[in-house]
Structures are given as structure tokens and as C-alpha cells.
Symmetry: C3
Subunit: 341 residues, 3 copies
Amino acid sequence: MVDSRFFKVSGPFSLNELEEISGAKVGGDSENRTKMFADVAPLNAAGPGDVTFFEDIRYSPALAVSKAGACLIREEDAAKAPTGMVLLVTPQPLRAFARVANAFYPGGADGVGVHASAVVDASARIGEGCRIDAGAVVGAEAELGDRTLISANAVIGPGVVVGQDGFVGACASLAFCIIGERTYIHPGVRIGQDGFGFIPGRDGHLKVPQLGRVIIGDDVEIGANTTIDRGAASDTVIEDGTKIDNLVQIGHNVRLGKGCIVVAQVGISGSTTVGKGVMIGGQAGFAGHTKVGDGARIAAKTGVIRDIEPGAAVMGYPSVPVRQFFRQVVALAHLAKKKDA
Amino acid sequence: MVDSRFFKVSGPFSLNELEEISGAKVGGDSENRTKMFADVAPLNAAGPGDVTFFEDIRYSPALAVSKAGACLIREEDAAKAPTGMVLLVTPQPLRAFARVANAFYPGGADGVGVHASAVVDASARIGEGCRIDAGAVVGAEAELGDRTLISANAVIGPGVVVGQDGFVGACASLAFCIIGERTYIHPGVRIGQDGFGFIPGRDGHLKVPQLGRVIIGDDVEIGANTTIDRGAASDTVIEDGTKIDNLVQIGHNVRLGKGCIVVAQVGISGSTTVGKGVMIGGQAGFAGHTKVGDGARIAAKTGVIRDIEPGAAVMGYPSVPVRQFFRQVVALAHLAKKKDA
Amino acid sequence: MVDSRFFKVSGPFSLNELEEISGAKVGGDSENRTKMFADVAPLNAAGPGDVTFFEDIRYSPALAVSKAGACLIREEDAAKAPTGMVLLVTPQPLRAFARVANAFYPGGADGVGVHASAVVDASARIGEGCRIDAGAVVGAEAELGDRTLISANAVIGPGVVVGQDGFVGACASLAFCIIGERTYIHPGVRIGQDGFGFIPGRDGHLKVPQLGRVIIGDDVEIGANTTIDRGAASDTVIEDGTKIDNLVQIGHNVRLGKGCIVVAQVGISGSTTVGKGVMIGGQAGFAGHTKVGDGARIAAKTGVIRDIEPGAAVMGYPSVPVRQFFRQVVALAHLAKKKDA
């Protein structure tokens, strides 16, 4: 299933190990506890040596004929599984499956050390077990925590800090930033360039100096070719656990709270503040200086030009509550039909 | 016309050669078949040694006074040309002109070989006549087909395959992908990073391992700074002949059929399937898991949240048939006017 | 306030020097002209040695209790300042503050010279006082004006010209372009790749050769990961003083007039012409071959599919005058409400 050209499989794992990894419990008769499982696979492709999962009721027919050796499954669905399949019972099969798949495919770097063609300033502080790939550049006084990987042709600017167990993708560039632990910076990301701050004028737009930084928390992920400008007076801040997709633009002085999810091609203008656990759909845009409350949900393509209440679900441009958006869609379709008649 | 600082001209070409290259036929009396043509140029800038074309009726006045030595033209337009101009008659003048211009300016690389500062793993397999520019990095077990060009500071990850006559632009990064022949990857493209797959949760968003690849066909073009994530369980697939513009986002497990055209800044969310010959306007967006039928036309800025029938032409958010979209635009303008009165 | 890890402060400056730098005049009794100021800071963070500014009336309470040593302020607001604060009177406090901050933090490069790992072609012409960082590549016959900085892993293609006092960010790539003086190219920018020009056809989309260049004026700024394609027959042109934000797409043969401001994620399709001093909000899009008049204002997310008059302010998709847009928003909300009743 998985292409061994690109992915190295760990394991095999026993049922006891799978219980421990997944947090699930083997249901029914526990029979042969020493049976080993060698891989993960979807329901329809799994064989007797594979672990799969079942969570979405629409896949019941596939479950009924699946050849998988073991299946992560909810207790109430156990009766749908074919006989002979080992059931690993858990209230959250997909979540448990992700843990199992991460155990089979831990990823991570092979080897450590600095490639001969990398350029690391003598004053940079490099932690234990780091790997710095070909052509990467690490500037003066920069700091890398232990086990951090800097990919080929990435550029870590002077003074930049990347916490331990970090990953910086190929051709990414980091400047004027302090980054937490276990952060994952995808290829081509641009962090810390000076923001878009101009005072318009007839004799030219005057640039405002951008003297802040970018501060990124722990367990943050930043998608490929995403851009995050540094602050003007204060800092641009991305808090712990927030996940940002590809090609997102984050302006100067933006603050994103903990645990947000920001889908691809979103644009957040300068000085906008987003609370905790906010979900933002793809291609949504935010005017500058707006405030978005905790737990708000912003649909894809929404244009936010006023503050959003905590917990609100909004859509459209300018944004309105999602239900109102769809009422408007229906009303407009009806109106256009009537005019035809 | 063309700046010789950047472009090297081939030729000159005789009328016989131009017939062969363009597929057009010299109309009227064939006179001096040995006359040579040295360059291409637009109608208004072409001189006696240049080849031009006429296809759009709005340029008839320019044609009447053009000094071009030869013109690719439809038979029915031949009478509009000034006397003395050699006419190369073809039903598709622009298409024929593109072939002629490609002959005068074949582009392609000068020279072959691996630059001294490139880093090519000893286990990589490099075809005949490849060129690998300064600072490029080619990983372990990677394979480059014959005559493929890897530009400066590009990064080809371990195991990646690029078919023959391929081009990879400056600072692009490729990982976990298999790429066909005659593909053109522009600068800054990101292929194969792991997709945006998280299971949201209160105690943090759990990452789902992304164990698929990116499979790209023959004659595909990928625009600058576009991002294509690798698949989660299955692969992300771009089929033969599809052309993708700049800054496009393609999520994990997306499948794009043959011969699609995807304009800049489009975003296609995970697991969406697009048929053959689909045209997608700029900044359009697709929700995940939608299906778009063969030959559909999606207008710029459209937001697709439901499946689209084959051959449909849609616009708006949520998308509706293009005619309905414009009826709604008119109805709304009318409604707003009435309210003012 | 400002992190000395990243920013080196100049100064201190005397009141006389601050008058000269800012164009402001010390108001009231001039007292101790030899007092020195060491830094800039916002109203609420400034101390006795800092220069601040006051322009927005909403910050009057912060001004009343500010500890700043000196404040750039309008004459009519002077009475709001606490006693003892030195007032630097000017009609444009923010503009004056930008000049002062630029004096304290001039930025710019330390040191000159070509890093040992940079690859500079022997035929390239490098001006006085240039700096070329690690891993950068400068191609044959390229020209860099005096004091230009090429950042790490950037790629300057053959024949490219960058005028004096230019800046090219990390991992940017420039090709087929001529760039003026004092231009600032952010990291990851892609300039000069061939544009998206295909003639669609059943037996494949035929590529039209792109034989133009990109011509960029003086004092232009191009944001991170922005892409600018070269012209097809004529050139793509960005005129003097225009500022472009991150992740913007500029198609082939586009012409942007002097002093435009283009916010992040805007897309401008091929052959569109934009006049002088046009302001374009984030995520706006332009169909190909449209004309936008001088001084027009295009709101964020607007979709321009027809020509825009000089001085017009438009919004929506398709674009309408801003006032009409909001009238339509109100009319539609009202209609949807009525239907519910």
C-alpha cells in the first residue's frame, strides 16, 4: 500500500502494543495476543496483517467484506464487522488510527550532523542531535534546539530561535522570529520579513519601520509558501497548537490564539486579533484591526470586515451568520426566478 | 523586438521551412521560395524580415498597414492583407504562430552537466544530457530522465522521479513525488509536503500521517509558488496535459483529470476530484470531497461546495449556472434601486 | 522595547537633529536643546528618553498619561499633552514619526563582499559596496548596481539587472527582468518566469512562447512569495513607487502605473492595465485585458471584469460602486427577512 520508496515502516506490533499505542481495548475473546500486525491500510485495501479503522457509517458495506486483520471501531458498531476480524474498541476510531499510523510511520530524520555544503555561522548555537541539510544557511547568533532539522537550502536568519524537535522545510526563510518547540515549518514558508506598512502620499508612499518580531508557540504548523510578516511596533504572535495551511498571508501585528485552524489561502490583515480555537475556511479574508472571538467559525471565502462574537459561525462578504447567508441565497434565487416570469 | 539580452533567436527560416513548421500553406503565387525570415513580431511592429499573424478582426486596420514580410492568416481574410505580403494560409493562425515562434525561440538549456556547487547524492540516477545548476540538491535514490534541467537552488528529495525533458525552476522543492515527461515545474513550486490533515480536539489537533505521494503525468505545467500536498492514504494525482498557473493550492488526495486549465490562486481542498478538460478561473475555491464533471467550466472566484455536472458552466458562491448568476446580479441591482426610490 | 537581538539602534539624537529629520518644529519654550533621545516607542510604552507620536484622537487618554520625553503632534492637539513633554509640532505626526524611526533604525546591511559559498558568474558586473550572501547565485551577464544586497540562496538569472541600493530577499528568484533603483524584493518572490499562455485544443494545450520581459521601476516593493510573470510579446511593467504586498499574482503583459498599492493575495490577469495611484484591497481579482483608471479604489475581494473609470471606488463581484454594493447588501438582508415572515 504505502510506497517503500518514500516511507519506512516500523513495527510489526502485537495486539498488546496496539492497545497501548491506540488507547483502544481488544473486544470479544482476546485469543492470540501474540499475533503481529505489519502495516496500516484503509478498509478496502487492508489484508490480514493490517490494521484499519471504521468510523463513518457510510462505509458499512466495505467493513462487511474487509479482509483487515484488525479494526479500530466503536463498541456500538462491533456487530457490523466480519467474524474473525480482531476488534480494537475505542470511542474515537479515527483518532486512535492516527496514533497507530504514526507508530508504523514515525517519519523524522535519518542521521544527524551538518552537511558539508551548509553554511553555519560560528556564533550560532546548535543543539544536540540536530541535522542541517545541504545548502542550508544559519546566521549569526541563531539558536537551534535539540533534534531540530533544517532542510536543504533553507535560510535561518541572524538571531532566530527555533525550539527543540523543530522542522524547517526546504527553501524556507526565517528572520526576526522566535519559534517554540515541535513546530513544523513547511517548505517555502517566509517568516519575519517586514510588513506592508506605508503612509500613502502624493510624493511617494513612506515606509514605516517594522521593529517587531514574529513569536510562534509550541506545536504550531505553518503550511508551504505561507507568509508571516513581523510586527511593526509590537510582535506578530501565533500561539500554541495552531495549524496553518499553505499559501496563507498573516500581516504585521496579527495575533492568532491557541489551537486555531487556518485553511489554505486565507489572508489576515495587519493588527487583527483572533481568539482561541477559531476555525477559518479557505480563502477567507480579514480586514485590518478586526477582533474575532474564541471558538468562532469563519466559512471559506468569507470577508470579515467587522468584529466577530465568540462562538459565532459566519459566512459571506460582508460576513453574516451562516443561516442568514443561506436564507439570502435562497431569497435571491427566488427573486431572480420571479423576474424571469 | 525581442531582447537579445535574454532570448537567443534561431533561424532564419525559408518559406518552405515555415510551411513545415506551421502547417500553413503559402497562398497566391509562391514567387521567391528561398526568401529567408529572421524573426517573429506583432502586426504593428513586424518588418520585411519578420513573420506575423492575423486572427482577430479588430486588428484589420493594423493588418492593412503592416510592413510584415509574411503573415499567418485565414483564407477568408487574405484579401485584407496589403499586396506584397507573403500569406501563410491556415485555419488557426495563432496556433500556427505559436509553433513558428517556438521554432525561432526554442529556449531550453545551454550546456549540460552538474555545477560544482550542486549536491547530488551518489545513489541518485541522472540521465543523459541533464543539467543541474548551482546550489541544487538531489537526494538519495532520486531519478532524473534524460535532458532534464534542475535550476539553481532547487531541491529534489530522496526517491523523487522526474521524467525526461523535464524542467524544475529555481528554488522549487519536490518530495514524495513521481513526475512524468516534458513537465515544467516553475520556480518556487512546493510538491509533496504532507497535507493539512488534523483531527481537531480539545487537547490539541492530532496530526494524521500522510502516507501517499504526488503523481504527475506527462506535459503538465505547474506555476510559480504553487503548492501540491501529497496524499494521505491514496495519492494526489495530476493527469497528462494539465496546466496549472501560479500560487494555486492543491490539497491531499485531489485528482485533476487530463487537459485541465487551472488559473492563478485557485484552491482545491482535499479529496476533490476534477474530471477531464475542466477550465477553472482564477481565485476559485473548492470544498473538500466534491466532484467536478468532465468539461465543466468554473468561473473566476467561484466557490464550489457541491458536485458539478459534466459540461456545466458555473459562477458565484455557492456556485450556480452562469446565466442564473447574472440574472441574480441584475435582480439584486434592481431591488436595491427600488428601495432607494 | 525593540529587541536588540534583531535590531541595532542608531542615535541618540538631539532635538535639533530630530527637527531636521522629522521636519517638525519644537513647540512652546525650546528649553534644553541639547537633550538627547535614544529610541522610539508607542505612547503607552515610551519613557523619558523616547520619541513617540500622537495622531489618532482615540488615543487621547494614553497621551495624557504618557511618560514619553518627546511627542510628534499636531498643533491643535498640543494642549492634550502632559506638561513637561517636549512637543515636536507637525501637520503629519505619523509621517514624521516614520522618518524618525527610520533614523533610529536605518536597517541595511552590515558588511560588503561576496560570501565564499555564493556563485557569481565571471561575466556578471557587480557594483561597489554590494553584498552577496551565502548560497546566492548570480548568472552570466547579470548586473548589480552599487550597494545592492542579494540575500542567502537567492537566484539572479542571466542578464538580469538590479539597480543601485536594491535588496533581494532570501530564496527569491529573478529572471528576464530589468529592475530600477532602491527596489525591495522580499524573500521567495518569483519574477520573470514565463506566463500562463496556452492555446486550448483537443490534442493538448499549445504553449505560446513568452518573449517579453519584466520591467520594474524605482522605489518599488514586492512582497514575499509574490509572482510576476514576464510578458508574452510586450513586457510586464511595474512603474515607480508602486508597493505590492505578499502572495500577489501579476500575469504576463500587465502594466501597473506609478504609486499603486496592491494588498496581499490580489490576482491581476494577463494584459490588464492599471493606472497611477490605484489602491487595490486584498484578494481582489482582475479579469484579463481590463483597464483600471488613475486613482481608482478597488475594495478587498472585488472581482473586476469590466473597465473601471478613473477615481471610481468599487466593490463586489462583479464590481459595482461601493455605495451601491452596500445598498445591495441591505436590500438582500431585508428581502431574506421578509421571506421568513
